[in-house]
């Protein structure tokens, strides 16, 4: 885990300073998040965002937020390197289609369950098992056809994002282009 301190905890230069061919000073803002063992992480981030933009982004955040910010930037950068046209938006598009498909299946299953509940002679059949409420589809982003271009304004979560962090579960979590 990255130290919350901003001091350089590594004896060798961090991956960022190695890449940039500069001395890794104590207090290097990159050092806690770009260990020398992961050179590709910074290489991707630098290619897509640039070192100075990442520095500005990190400086605007509190120290405890920076590790997640760097990991999400690295995730986006890797997605963009793999898919230069759609990047992460390809994965979002794929996941939204999955959500939509699953919701339709759930609606159909609920309709079937109601059908059996109404047609049996056992009045409390439905009470014997859990009766799920239909989950509303969360249409945060509507897709025009199959294009992953989004119509609605994105809404930030400002620091919390559900129980999955893709870099904890591996990069293969449901992403169509990852």
């Amino acid at each position: 885990m990255a130290s919350s301190s901003s001091s350089n905890t590594y004896n060798s230069p961090c991956a960022a300073c190695k890449f940039l061919r500069r001395k890794c000073m104590p207090g290097c803002i990159f050092a806690p998040y770009f260990p020398p063992e992961e050179p590709h992480k910074f290489a991707n981030v630098h290619k897509i965002f640039g070192a100075s933009n990442v520095t500005k982004l990190l400086n605007e955040l509190l120290p405890h937020q920076r590790e997640d910010a760097v990991n999400s930037l690295a995730y986006e950068a890797e997605a963009r390197v793999r898919d230069p046209v759609y990047g992460c938006v390809g994965a979002i598009s794929y996941l939204q289609r999955q959500v939509h498909r699953l919701q339709k299946e759930l609606d159909a299953a609920n309709a079937d369950l109601v059908h059996y509940g109404l047609s049996t002679s056992t009045p409390n059949l439905v009470d014997l098992v859990f009766q799920p409420q239909p989950q509303p589809l969360n249409p945060v982003y509507r897709l025009p056809g199959v294009s992953p271009v989004m119509n609605q304004q994105p809404r930030g979560t400002g620091g919390s994002c559900g129980s999955f962090l893709p870099w904890n579960n591996g990069h293969d979590q449901g992403g169509g282009n990852m």
Binding site: I48, F49, G50, S52, N53, L57, E60, L61, Q65, D68, S72, L73, E76, P84, V85, C88, V89, G90, A91, I92, L95, Q96, Q98, V99, L102, Q103, E105, L106, A109, N110, D112, L113, Y116, G117, T120, S121, T122, L125, F130, P132, Q135, N138, V140, Y141, P148, V149, M150, Q153, P154, G156, T157, G158, G159, C161, G162, S163, F164, L165, P166, Q173
Partner: protein, 121 residues
Amino acid sequence: MNPKRCAACKYLRRRCPKDCIFSPYFPPSDPDKFACIHRIYGAGNVSKMLQQLPVQSRAEAVESLSFEAKCRVEDPVYGCVGMISLLQTQIQKTQTLLAKTQAEIAVAQAKHSQTQVNEFM
């Protein structure tokens, strides 16, 4: 100065040449789009990315970059990765609910069949 400079060249305060790589995708009517992309990626990086793509793919690339940049401005910690996380959570919950509902249907079907058999006997 060309009065019809694209939003990128207006933002960068420079001439907009006829072969400007940004001008097809950053009309002057939408200055925020380039401002947002510039803030997150920088003009040089975007220019390089577009140059490496075939012309027919650039419009989609700009739209996806614009979307990701807006996400990052709104959520500087997670950007659009926050959305991926939420969608994955939603998928998992819906899959669990679907599995439960399908199990309940199986129980209901079995009871329904038993009821029909009993009625015939």
